[in-house]
């Protein structure tokens, strides 16, 4: 089967990606999709400064960082998700629950990849770096919200078995958003500021996203 055919099956939830009958999806295949689609979006994301001399590395950095960002956020949330599932007495279904959350990563990456042309157009339309960063924020938020369709589809058989599974989706999303915001902050730049030299990580990037937001809010209010 071609890669496009496999992604089509994944988006439609059929064939090997069918969630019917409460079976866990293959994590390896899902991560394969997430890595490929994330890498593609990363290339487009890092293309804001174009391919001028000394700038092409940003494409490679962003291509590597988007799948890495997805994986790091996911990996940090899994232990707590496991314990919360166990505590709610839902441990027997954990494999399926975990595959649903892995499917979310794959779906998020596929949606990002599908929005890559829109991002490229936005880059061509604006000379302002801040706008480009903001636009990417909107794209990530839209992809995160849309990927819940796949989560709900994968969770449907679980919720039919036990309604408490609904609360586990909320637990995952809370953890994922909380960690994801910080992970994105630490792994910046993803877009690449044209006024600064290309870097894998911004010098002095180790900081806290939430503290930065509080500082920014304080400045605005003053």
């Amino acid at each position: 089967m071609t890669v496009a055919g496999r992604i089509d099956d994944f988006l439609r939830g059929r064939g090997e990606f069918s969630a019917e009958g409460s079976r866990a999806l293959g994590l390896g295949r899902l991560w394969g999709i997430a890595a490929a689609a994330g890498l593609f979006y990363g290339v487009v994301m890092g293309s804001y400064c174009g391919l001028s001399a000394g700038r092409w590395q940003q494409l490679a950095y962003s291509a590597a960082k988007v799948p890495l960002f997805l994986f790091v956020t996911y990996a940090l949330c899994v232990p707590a998700f496991f314990v919360f599932n166990s505590l709610r007495g839902l441990r027997t279904d954990f494999r399926i629950a975990l595959s649903a959350m892995t499917a979310m990563q794959a779906c998020l990456a596929v949606i990002l990849a599908s929005l890559a042309p829109v991002t490229a157009l936005a880059y061509l339309s604006t000379p302002d770096y801040g706008t480009a960063v903001f636009f990417n924020g909107i794209v990530f938020a839209a992809a995160s919200v849309s990927s819940q369709i796949v989560v709900l589809r994968c969770y449907r058989p679980l919720i039919a078995l036990d309604r408490r599974h609904r609360s586990m989706i909320a637990v995952w999303l809370t953890l994922y958003v909380f960690v994801g915001i910080q992970a994105a902050w630490v792994m910046r730049p993803f877009v690449g500021n044209p006024d600064l030299p290309v870097a894998l990580f911004r010098p002095g990037a180790w900081g806290n996203a939430y503290v930065a937001v509080i500082k920014l809010t304080r400045q605005v209010l003053q």
Binding site: P79, F82, S86, L87, G89, R91, W206
Partner: protein, 246 residues
């Protein structure tokens, strides 16, 4: 290796509620191997403590990791030590059906649940430790994680104690012929448990304050213990004001 596997199997069964076949938080502890649970709790406490103390050791002083790794299991052990006698005395006075051993087993199970939740949040604490320079933020994050895990453990403990009194799986101790008729009924025993849970929460909060610093300020010199004085609420409020007010 076999011993470690047995320890975590016991903890796993507690978390899964396999002993009771139900949701463990709703169902309670059931019959547990207290020794295995204690050992597993110790390891989990050491793990979370190490993650917690990592922030204070960013200045190169690894003693804070060691101190926090020791203090987290100590915090739970001392809290149980301080509060358990009063639980047993009041429960016995009000005519609780169970003896001290099952009660202690339930309290230890709740501590194990608390530490398991904390340890599962350890990687997130570690991630924020390595990426954050704000000490007040780290304090508030750890307090928040302790509150989340504490609420889960207290719910577990309340349900376990109530189930132990009312449930069919632990046969009650046969009353002696000369034992007085309990003055307070089953509802009264439940009330004693509720009041004791509040005591447990307050004592664990104060114990955490006595054992501070648990996170450790990397700008300050290392100290095993902070001087006496102050209170946890004032310190938390100060951290919040510092975080929000700069």
């Amino acid at each position: 290796m076999e011993g470690i596997r047995a320890m975590f199997k016991e903890l796993d069964e507690l978390l899964r509620g396999r002993r009771t076949g139900q949701n463990p938080v709703d169902a309670g502890a059931g019959q547990m191997d207290a020794e295995a649970l204690l050992k597993a709790s110790l390891i989990l406490g050491l793990c979370y403590g190490a993650f917690m103390g990592l922030y204070g050791s960013l200045n190169g002083n690894v003693l804070q990791v060691l101190a926090s790794a020791c203090k987290v299991p100590l915090l739970f052990a001392l809290t149980v030590l301080v509060t358990f006698p009063s639980l047993y005395v009041f429960a016995a006075m009000t005519g609780a059906r169970q003896g001290p051993r099952p009660m202690l087993q339930v309290v230890l199970s709740a501590a194990a649940v608390n530490l398991a939740v904390l340890a599962s949040l350890g990687p997130i604490t570690g991630f924020f430790t390595l990426t954050t320079t704000s000490y007040p933020f780290m304090k508030i994050l750890n307090v928040f994680f302790f509150i989340v895990s504490g609420c889960i453990a207290l719910t577990f403990l309340r349900n376990s104690l109530n189930q132990m009194e009312d449930g069919p799986q632990s046969p009650p101790r046969p009353p002696r012929a000369d034992e007085a008729e309990p003055i307070i009924g089953r509802g009264g025993v439940r009330q004693v448990f509720t009041v004791w849970l509040a005591l447990y929460a307050v004592v664990s909060l104060q114990m955490g304050w006595v054992l501070r610093p648990l996170v450790g300020d990397p700008q300050a010199p290392f100290a095993w213990f902070s001087p006496r004085g102050g209170n946890p609420f004032g310190d938390f409020w100060g951290a919040l004001v510092k975080l929000l007010g700069g």
